[in-house]
Symmetry: C2
Subunit: 222 residues, 2 copies
């Protein structure tokens, strides 16, 4: 199906150009953006809300929530008192740069240090579309199982940090952490990982401290 491939490539190129423009706009405002990707139900939204709580008073934050149809996630972020924008993709399986460019004007960028963008729950498609973020973060949840790096290699290859979520469920599900980490290491050698439970709070401090230092050193080098 060569026609299809050509069209997708054309879209990707246009998307990448727009993503670059978004990144420049964010740089001008001094705003660091992270793109959070995961399977449906890996706990992205709870993890983001807890991250926002952990960073309160340390960074000024906004949220862009990507979803197929509802505003459940943006409502949760708004309830936490933060500027939040909902993107409804209308069935599209990923966010793209056009959607993010459309959402940015609704955020007070000049008063922010960090924008967290929650992508559509999907381990395949989102990684193929740049959205102007400075960092891609994958959230892998314990109950998904230890074979996910092997089965969804693209998602693991294309990220800058890996959060291993729902560690509180480790006693109740079969999960071989060595096998999991071996797969991650093959695909993305040296990838920094943060095992944590957003529910109990275990591990959240290490992640929050790392993110704060990442954003601050980025701003220093702008």
């Amino acid at each position: 199906m060569p026609t299809r491939i050509q069209v997708v490539e054309k879209i990707l190129t246009a998307n990448d150009q727009l993503a670059e423009n978004i990144r420049k706009q964010l740089n001008s405002a001094g705003v660091f953006a992270i793109n959070i990707m995961a399977s449906p139900g890996a706990g992205k939204t709870t993890f983001i809300i807890k991250t926002l709580e952990a960073l309160h008073g340390r960074l000024r934050m906004g949220v862009i929530e990507g979803d197929l149809a509802t505003s459940i996630d943006a409502d949760k972020a708004s309830a936490a008192g933060l500027p939040a924008v909902q993107i409804n993709t209308g069935g599209e399986c990923h966010l793209d740069a056009v959607m993010v460019a459309g959402a940015l004007p609704s955020l007070p960028l000049n008063n922010l240090d960090l924008v967290i963008i929650e992508n559509v729950g999907n381990l395949v498609c989102p990684i193929n579309f740049q959205i102007g973020s400075h960092m891609n973060v994958l959230v892998a949840s314990i109950p998904e199982g230890d074979d996910k790096p092997y089965k969804y290699p693209g998602a693991y290859r294309g990220v800058n940090a890996l959060v291993i979520s729902k560690t509180d469920l480790l006693p109740y599900v079969p999960f071989n952490m060595d096998y999991f980490r071996k797969g991650v290491e093959i695909l993305n050698p040296g990838l920094i990982t943060f095992p944590l439970s957003a529910k109990t709070g275990t591990g959240m401090d290490a992640w929050a401290d790392w993110l704060v230092s990442k954003v601050k050193s980025w701003k220093t080098n702008l």
Copy 2:
């Protein structure tokens, strides 16, 4: 992007025609096919293996495993002593009819009653592509959370049966079954559901009995 939409529609039409041909081929051989869809890590493969065990001696079965890159799942099915074919989509986020048509000749269709097709783990894309199956089954796992029908409506709308998996984890995760079922009922009124744990075996009999009766009544009416 009208060009893109046109091309996708053209692909879908060609795909649907091929899916219809696959269904006719399966009908001629007296083989019922089910398309199993779910998020990554919902427990599809374990559920399928346990289904095959539960149906042993009652139906003659084969398996088609869809995956991005590995043969982990087909290896597991083969280890259970069943004819199994692996489709590697090469990064594509769903199975389509072309892939399934390519896999069918590797199965001894004339000696089978049932083919179980495991789709790529993805709650968005697979539902848009017919693959020639007689029934779509969604596997929703408890640790994914109770809001998934609301957030991934397409997946819940387009299926003929819903398996609620990993019920053994109910004591350890927040999951409001009434809220979940309310969402399912709005999207797919009267949908038959099978809460079960493939790990403990609870609920597997009800599912297996229902599937056997479904396949037998279908064969009677062929």
